[in-house]
């Protein structure tokens, strides 16, 4: 059975379900109690589970992320909210030097079943310190998984998987998608991490995106379709480990790849995917690999600048058109 839920509702359902199912799961973050987090995702949960399981923190990102790492080492299952993903940079040391390394470095008992929900997403004129994409930093980091869902159903299913995962996971939410609605299954079935999904079939060009960019890519595909170009659209869903085999299969078929990323271009997530295509599929390419990304700039605050900086259905379609032309 499915119902129509918004992305925030789907996330809340996953959190609530796991907290009911597993007493080790608890939430941690700034203003996640009464306030429900800056975007209301955890609204009502402290009433339901109490302040011991919905733990509000002072503004000490390094400290409370590190505390969550320590608690998870001891078998708890903290799910930390970072109000704006930009602030995760304050906790880089704890995530990269500690959480990501512990199991490899200390041995197999030192697992870190930690989820960090980092709320990202540009497009709302929140300015340069409240809009930047941080996922590539973690995709580059061995020992951490990175997930970035695009739909309510995926948000729920992947978050369930992330919470059950014995390893640290950065779960990238895009606040622009929070109100977006979609069908969400009622059950508690996890969607396995590490699997991309083809969300539109096509034969002429493969467009790959994740999070909000999937929707832009789909819109671009619709536009292209009216021009006789059938784009296949792939949602990466998990960024690390990256399901490049899934992408490769498609690219080998279409011979063309458009890779879309909301964050800055250089060394971004799509740089890796482009590199893998260059390693594994060049013989199948009918044109250059094409990235459509934010340019290498901080995210400007003004709406006109911000919109100009962001990849859009228009710029994606344009890139695909050029490639197929």
């Amino acid at each position: 059975m499915t119902r129509i839920l918004s992305t925030s509702e789907a996330i809340r359902e996953a959190l609530t379900g796991e907290m009911e199912r597993d007493e080790r799961v608890f939430l941690m973050g700034e203003d996640i109690g009464l306030y429900g987090g800056a975007f209301g995702v955890t609204r009502g949960m402290q009433d339901k589970f109490g302040p011991e399981r919905v733990v509000e923190t002072p503004i000490s990102e390094a400290g409370f992320v590190g505390v969550a790492v320590g608690a998870s080492l001891m078998g708890r299952r903290p799910v930390v909210e970072i109000m704006f993903s930009d602030f995760i940079l304050l906790a880089m040391d704890q995530l990269v030097n500690h959480a990501a390394k512990f199991r490899y470095v200390y041995g197999e008992k030192s697992t870190v079943p930690l989820v960090v929900r980092a709320v990202g997403g540009a497009g709302r004129a929140y300015g340069p310190t409240h809009s930047q994409a941080v996922e590539a930093y973690f995709v580059h980091t061995p020992g951490i998984k990175v997930v970035a869902p695009s739909t309510p159903a995926d948000a729920k299913g992947l978050l369930l998987a992330a919470i059950r995962e014995p390893n640290p996971v950065i779960f990238i939410e895009n606040r622009v998608l929070y109100p977006q609605k979609g069908e969400v299954p009622e059950g508690a079935e996890a969607i396995p991490l590490g699997k991309a999904a083809t969300v539109r079939a096509g034969k002429d060009v493969t467009i790959v995106g994740y999070s909000r960019m999937v929707h832009e890519s789909l819109a671009a595909a619709e536009a292209l379709s009216t021009e006789g170009i059938e784009a296949e659209v792939i949602d990466l869903r998990t960024l690390s480990p990256m399901d490049s085999p899934h992408v490769m299969e498609s690219v080998k078929r279409t011979g063309r790849a458009v890779l879309v990323e909301e964050g800055p271009r250089t060394c971004g997530v799509m740089a890796e995917l482009a590199a893998r295509i260059a390693e594994e599929a060049i013989d199948y390419l009918d044109g250059p690999v094409t990235r459509v990304t934010m340019p290498d700039i901080p995210v400007p605050c003004s709406p006109v600048l911000e919109q100009a900086a962001l990849p859009s259905r228009k710029s994606i379609a344009e890139a695909a058109r050029r490639l197929c032309g």
Binding site: D86, Y126, C301
Partner: protein, 319 residues
Amino acid sequence: MNLDADRLKKLYHDMLLIRRFEERLSDLFLKGEVAGTCHLCIGQEAVPVGVASVLRDGDWMNGTHRGHGHFLAKGGDPRLMMAEIFGRETGYAKGRGGSQHMACFDVGFLGSNGITGGGLPIATGAALALKQRKIPNVVVGMMGDGAANQGVFHECLNLAAIWKLPVVYVCENNLYAMSTPFQESCAVSKLSDRVRGFGLGVETVDGNDVLAVAEAAGRAVEWARSGGGPAFLECMTYRFCGHSRSDQCLYRTRDEETAWKARCPIELLRGVLLDKRAATESELDAIAETAAKEVKEAEDFARSSPLADVARLTEGVFE
């Protein structure tokens, strides 16, 4: 009319300018005429105005995310600020920074900052620069009570103390960090008690009394200026408005709000001015009108300015 009266009237004007500026902004955001979010300091105006009033030419200040008041008090041009918030090419940062990120070196404003506590090392570093250049100026690092829980704040306290830097940390303790009550995020009753242990001179003061703020800030600034090292000033105050646009203030009581609003810093100073006969009602009303006019001009300026120039989107990352 004596100098003192002039000074008081300037304080009154400066607080009112901030108040009017932000009241207008509040409208504009609610109406959706301005995009994004912003943090208003309505109710807290006495802190930046009181502190700025004891600074000299060549002194610096930085601002927080709740930084319009800091910038205006330090001499920011309301027109360029409004233009920035409107995302115009004429704004302080050509629309790139928006409400939380504006700087103007010409008036000694290092910049407001969207990262809670993030501006404190910047302020501390600016003080190091002054000390290296042997310039008898000081830097004021503004912060909230929430920022006091950031690790880097404590690193700065220690660095400033061991290097005896001319920096004054001014904390606007408005009892909440977003929805988090100060008392739940800090195990001691005063931040100044925590900071004392780092070796700074500290003081806690009524942050709604602009004269008390100015006096204490004067002491702290002179201490720093004269080579005594850093100081910490905790100003107890209250934001009358929500944390940001969408806040309904469920985490505090209407009674608490009412009690604080009864101690409006602007009304308090108005009372003093009238009591002391330093100004007449009509003089004060005229000041209020001036402030309103400045805000109106600022808005007109912003509205009549061109939008940020998309053709220059990628310019300016590097010099």
